[in-house]
Symmetry: C2
Subunit: 198 residues, 2 copies
């Protein structure tokens, strides 16, 4: 294992959870190992195929994804920029590297993204007082305003989805999502304990 810091780093910030994040960003090498694609190639199940088919049908409806694209256009931002602003809005100031992990791009890439957001006046950089190698990014006031618009736009998209469900289905969905999240959290904690203990 080449990057002993990534697991702790991802865990250290924000809230305790988010355990298994980021260690698979193609940061420094490590792209030769297979991702296990071959192993599970034939493990398709009737249910996965059914879900797959359903999702393909959904994706034919542009009206469902347009709202997001509409926000981009309205605000004259790229998807990556919106993504970065969203995380800054949700998590508050973070180190540049952490933001990169959240958005799912490398640290080299995030530099340019933050550069442009900074030149638009939406974010600002400051040195981390505790670790002077690190740079902390945060939303400016204009950035916060833009974040609020993004957030409202996302909310509007979600309402579109919820409107496709009856009240009972909506309740059911919340229950299901919460149980899934609980399982994910449990998995992450188990993996965490595992890596600490063994």
């Amino acid at each position: 294992m080449r990057r002993p810091e990534d697991r702790p780093a991802a865990l250290a910030n924000r809230r305790g959870d988010a355990g298994a994040e980021g260690q698979d960003l193609p940061e420094d090498g490590g792209s030769e190992e297979s991702h296990g694609l071959e192993d599970e190639v034939d493990a398709s199940t009737p249910e996965s195929r059914r879900l797959h088919a359903l999702l393909i049908e959904f994706s034919r409806y542009r009206s469902l994804k347009n709202p997001l694209a509409g926000i981009c256009e309205d605000l004259q931002l790229t998807p990556t920029q919106m993504h970065a602003l969203s995380w800054l809005g949700n998590d508050g100031p973070v180190q540049v590297g952490v933001l990169a992990q959240r958005v799912g791009i490398t640290r080299k890439t995030i530099t340019g993204v933050v550069d442009r957001l900074e030149s638009m006046g939406l974010v600002e950089r400051t040195r981390d007082v505790e670790d002077r190698r690190a740079v902390v990014v945060r939303l400016t006031q204009p950035g916060s305003n833009v974040f609020a618009r993004i957030d409202r736009g996302l909310d509007a998209s979600l309402r579109r989805v919820l409107d496709l469900m009856g009240p009972e289905d909506r309740d059911a969905v919340f229950g299901i999502l919460e149980r899934m999240l609980a399982r994910l959290t449990a998995e992450a904690e188990a993996a965490d304990d595992d890596s600490q203990a063994g």
Copy 2:
């Protein structure tokens, strides 16, 4: 209102048609009108906020989206290229412009994407015999093989999601998705009738 067709268009198409599609792409102008963001800005509901919060929690778990990125890396393809190959595999040969709509990019952009896929030998272009202005793209045999790998990779991702649910929740989800799809289809047909009748 510069684009009288955008509302119906977004709903009207989908599937065999391809004729009515894509008018909502920012193809020829029309980026000044608001996307209705302002109108629904304050319409946030407790449920949409709850869903929003849940989805943010989910998105903190990189392990859920990684499989997709892993496929990209394994196959040395960009997300857009994978997206295009997916649609070609699912829908068969289509006009270049239709593919652009499926992927969600403009016709100017799809040209370069198809160029690169063609130079990789994954797709081929032929003139449309019925409309000689148009160009039809289709998967080559190597392209079909790559599509099969993409498809299996996606299936693996879906299995990961399904594994987070108990059997009952899984059944419930299928029912909910099918009802949502039915409602979407009904909306689309209603809008279609509407645009034809009045």
